[in-house]
Symmetry: C2
Subunit: 409 residues, 2 copies
Amino acid sequence: MFTANQNFRMLPESYLFSEVGRRLREFKEKNPGREVIRMDIGDVTRPLPECVVEAMRRAIDEMGHAETFHGYGPEQGYDFLRELILEYDYVQMGVKCLGAEDIFVSDGAKSDLGNLTDIFGIDLRIGVTTPGYPVYADSNVLSGAAGIPVGGGWERLIEIPCPAFNGFMPELPESPLDVIYLCYPNNPTGTSMTREQLTEWVDYALMCKALIIYDSAYEAYITQPGIPHSIYEIPGAEKVAIEVRSFSKTAGFTGVRCGYTVVPRTLEFGFADGAEASLNRMWLRRQTTKFNGVGYIVQKGAEALYTPEGREAIERNVAYYMKNARDLREAIISKRWEVFGGVNAPYVWFRPLPHGDSWKWFERMLGEYGISSTPGVGFGAMGEGWLRLTGFGSRENTREAIDRLMSDM
Amino acid sequence: MFTANQNFRMLPESYLFSEVGRRLREFKEKNPGREVIRMDIGDVTRPLPECVVEAMRRAIDEMGHAETFHGYGPEQGYDFLRELILEYDYVQMGVKCLGAEDIFVSDGAKSDLGNLTDIFGIDLRIGVTTPGYPVYADSNVLSGAAGIPVGGGWERLIEIPCPAFNGFMPELPESPLDVIYLCYPNNPTGTSMTREQLTEWVDYALMCKALIIYDSAYEAYITQPGIPHSIYEIPGAEKVAIEVRSFSKTAGFTGVRCGYTVVPRTLEFGFADGAEASLNRMWLRRQTTKFNGVGYIVQKGAEALYTPEGREAIERNVAYYMKNARDLREAIISKRWEVFGGVNAPYVWFRPLPHGDSWKWFERMLGEYGISSTPGVGFGAMGEGWLRLTGFGSRENTREAIDRLMSDM
């Protein structure tokens, strides 16, 4: 008799953003005339850059002729794209410890972050920051790596608290962890780690022989100096860290689907019996077995992002969204609500007054201002009372949202 | 200390087709002048249909303007595509037991076939046919569902032999299985199941409460009557079967990446404690957590396949590749080598004379005829001595390959 994976029962049936969507539809049904400004899910609104559109058009034409048709590509991505990623995102940024073979092109950060549990051994102590992006914890619950439920949490899923009084920054755990998920600039809190802070975590991982999964999907939004864009800027990180990145938030690829994950050949890990393991070879085996690569047209679109026009387009997008985030931040500050983010990240994380539950405030933001936010508690208990807004809306909608927020001042 | 998933050690480091590619490169280095005709991997050569090219061009233009830009789409696919799949691939084919909610658009059959282990419970007896597509077994070995290695096989991975003397058809196992992978028309043997044969398997699954994972990626290649295109043509299958399909082999999507998987809401399975489980809801949860959907441009391309022009283009492609496969089959018959396939499938599966190892014959096919094949033993021990050729080449290359095969007659 087939039986289903019971780990699924330990999760709420719907993913955070599905629940936000459901409540939003409910609100709209009850309030048919009201116009809601969506600032909840981190979806972008700027169109694809012209050079990407042109590159994809050319690639489609190639695909329409037998002589230039491209069938199956390499599961790890075409070399033309991997070489550009290496050169522009790493070598030119001062990171010299990687090679193109360390880079795996993917259909987006969420897939890779979810699927990376495939290469985990058993009985690991897995650290996830709270608040944090739900996929880190959820994918480990589904795979069974999180173990059985224990007192509101999970046996082997260790929450790394990022409390408000500490500026939502994590403190090094007292006991050793085996896997650590870090995301900086952070989703949802918009906070960022300095080089010194990230060095502490790399040193900690080197000491415990822990694997860091570093989600740097928002690195392009860093505006201040002294904030590392890649974990590989930190000496020794190439021995302990996997880095996950995305073209979604910089180039409008949320609906195109392309990102990449770096699994260095220099990682120093082993199997339970001490034998050496190459996570790079394992991830290649995983991808060649359970994935068939990203489409040619999409990779040609991503390639165009490394031309001067593509890089300018990304700069313009980032500047556009960051102005939104900064303006939102200013508006919230002038309401005397506590706020984080909006400086090195496109997210604004705030606690409205009077303090109350995140979901209650979610409803109140909808009802009073017609603004859809993401409840902070959806990112973990430490986020209770907080809300997240994104700078990814259009300028017009962001201005209108700010006007609404200021209307009762 | 992080330790890696040791199940990876139980698999050869490289996937079958990577090994074929490696040996091919080696051959070319040693024989620089020789022109090799690739008939190994099942990659197509006909370009994208014109209507797909046009639809994708329009979609890219939409993505290049803020007013018509599409960001994140539903993880399970856009309704416009799911409704068409339901109508044309099922309802019009006489399958009335499904709804659009049962259909999940994916980036291809390989991803879904690999990831479906995510919803499996533990201690299942998993049946895989041998010869068979390696992903079925490999993904279960990687996930740990296959258990520990036992005498050349795996504890919980039960091989369902499809011996040559039985026309490479599987016999019903004597002991009950919990999961059964079936692929018809079959890759690699090119055999197909009649309605009566498939009914036996559905009845068996209903009796054992087993889950059938039915890979029907090649259904469009069926030319004879009485061969079911979908497992849901068999009464009761909607209670026991998941069906996986692809646009790769019909519409030239191997390098575009789109397919779909049907997980009916009517499946009747439970958790280990007997509580009811909805695999449909679980797969939705899996996809919303670990996947972000297929790109908008790609889905608009797939949509065009359901226009009259798209359907004609698919018919033309299928006819083109099937002529190749039939001609290959005839050539092999005239060499008095045993052969299967090439009638309801684009694969030709044959045993050259004198009988010998698959890999030795792989090398000999390269050396004597300059033809790259896939060694049958790569699909399991039952395939030893056999080779697979595909009809997916160009007409010119296929003719040339046939000439070479006949040259020593």
